[in-house]
Symmetry: C2
Subunit: 339 residues, 2 copies
């Protein structure tokens, strides 16, 4: 079997490990932002993952997308959410894509025709316009930190299919990369998108209280359970199966994102008193993108489109903290005392 991975950042590079483990021939294509990354990989280590990519992975620069997807059965898309629409649009211009299986690791809500939209919905519209049919689509989620996947840490991923036509995903399973599947692809992608946003809150709580052994675990557990309840509301109102929140795709991913990673770190900076936009810029300078920050703005527009923002008071509190630069401690304490 032959597969292309689009995007040579953390997740795209990490997924090449289980794929090659299973004997799949992998073309790793870098976007126009990834050229430096590919050069580093050619010289030795992947600069983010801090280890060489598996032997045999073919590296292809942004100019060679057609070459990258030529004759592949599966395309894994792992570009950033901002890059998704332009990359997918280019992909549709390539030959042989109509029948390919498409696995999407990109997380988030995208802007499509001026409106906030789920990635799979925007992509399906684009695909249908081009080919007059739906793509063979799988939204990939679950608690998967790329760095850990690349280092063979036991990991569970959830593959959300959009139809029964997608072939058996057990072809990608390894002893350390476990996969469960569901037909609730919409639920999986919404969990992936919004857990990044809610994880900011757990980071903020840690930043506010987690120094000098201050006590705050009751508070952060309260936020965690409210985040799960609001995720459920978002899925419910989007036609997804609300139960998906309670699988590894939802609470599992929220848990891991609250424990470690860029969104949590971003929240911590804000909790410690840094202005939200400055914290984002500081991380950008360190080449760390906290996707929850732009994700929050798009996410709020998405829930407003569904007219459910009033049912999501914690999301509203987060918006006040991050976008309106409100005082985190006051706002979160007020939120808790209103429960």
């Amino acid at each position: 079997m032959k597969a292309a991975v689009l995007g040579a950042g953390y997740m795209g590079s990490a997924i090449t490990f289980p794929l090659t483990h299973r004997g799949i021939a992998v073309n790793l294509w870098g976007t126009w932002l990834d050229d430096d990354m590919l050069s580093s990989c050619r010289r030795g280590k992947h600069p983010r993952l801090q280890k060489p990519l598996p032997a045999g992975v073919r590296l292809l620069p942004s100019s060679e997308l057609q070459e990258a997807v030529d004759g592949v059965q599966a395309v894994f898309i792992a570009v950033s959410s901002i890059g998704f629409i332009p990359v997918f649009s280019k992909l549709l211009g390539c030959g042989g894509i109509k029948e390919a299986e498409i696995y999407v690791l990109t997380k988030g809500i995208v802007e499509y025709q001026g409106k906030p939209e789920r990635i799979s919905r925007a992509a399906a519209a684009m695909f249908e316009k081009k080919f007059g049919q739906q793509p063979l689509w799988v939204s990939v989620g679950g608690p998967v930190k790329a760095m850990e996947l690349a280092h063979g840490i036991p990991t569970l991923s959830i593959y959300g299919q959009n139809s029964k036509a997608v072939p058996d995903i057990s072809r990608f399973r390894t002893p350390y990369y476990r996969i469960r599947s569901t037909y609730d692809g919409v639920g999986v992608e919404l969990c992936s998108a919004f857990k990044n946003v809610y994880a900011l809150l757990l980071g903020i709580c840690d930043g506010l209280y987690g120094q000098q052994d201050r006590l705050y675990h009751n508070f952060s557990a309260l936020l965690f359970s409210q985040a799960a309840a609001e995720l459920k509301e978002i899925l419910s109102c989007s036609g997804a199966d609300p139960e998906t929140v309670y699988t590894a795709a939802g609470i599992g991913d929220l848990y891991v994102t609250a424990q470690s990673g860029r969104n949590r770190r971003y929240g911590e900076l804000v909790g410690r008193g840094m202005q939200p936009h400055k914290a984002y810029q500081k991380m950008m300078r360190d080449q760390e993108i906290a996707e929850g920050y732009p994700g929050l703005k798009l996410g709020l527009r998405y829930v407003k489109k569904l007219c459910i923002e009033r049912r999501l008071p914690l999301l509203g509190s987060l918006y006040t903290i991050i976008v309106e630069a409100g005082n985190p401690e006051k706002i979160l304490t007020r939120f808790a005392s209103g429960l």
Copy 2:
């Protein structure tokens, strides 16, 4: 209003803070194990909570249970699970108890007439035998670390009522002690009992990998979501509402117990290589009781009584690690690779 709190350890003492905050007159009764604790409180600080109890809390030694409950409307029981049956039995011998509201903060499965049983079920049988009716019973759960409650950290507790006759629990609510109620008392008590057990696993995972910045968050998130799924199975097969797992009583409490506290610390010791029974004894010497350790044995007997142990593979793995002293890393890795 007048209330008695039975048990002067962490949780019993902590609950006196919101109660007195609401102007309730509180008698704090210590068991025969708490006499030293009460003496310390009289001299100044509560030795566990590291602060004085609220002014006006009346301290009563184990010999004065009748005095403690005389004329009270509500009895809060916060003794250890091992102490529950003997204390409840004594309580039933006191005058004026038949009409009292009973709030139970004790967590765990108890041994009743030689069998593992839910606390509320054992107590209901004892109460009915004595008075020919059911008690006004509320199982109290949710992510509540006693130390944090005593220090006014925003906290959400879940009160699971067994009938509509129990009066309004908003009488106990303060700005920092929030309460939600449910009629699924059985779900609340089972979550409280089993989350202590499953939290051992998150501690073990931390102990195994959490040193020297090793990567393991994917793995612990996988365990967290599996623990939630198994809790749901246990509730389902006990006639409780499985959805209760997904509230603060379930995932919220599992979250806080995984982050901090004695059960997590116990798990960490085992993860770092200490023999399970030695780790328990070490903590006992430091006057720290990890209730998840005896809770695991009783818990496994409870699920065997329901004949569902095969549907709980993670609980089985934990049993192999703790009771049969199996190698934690091997057993957990094998568990993950079987998903």
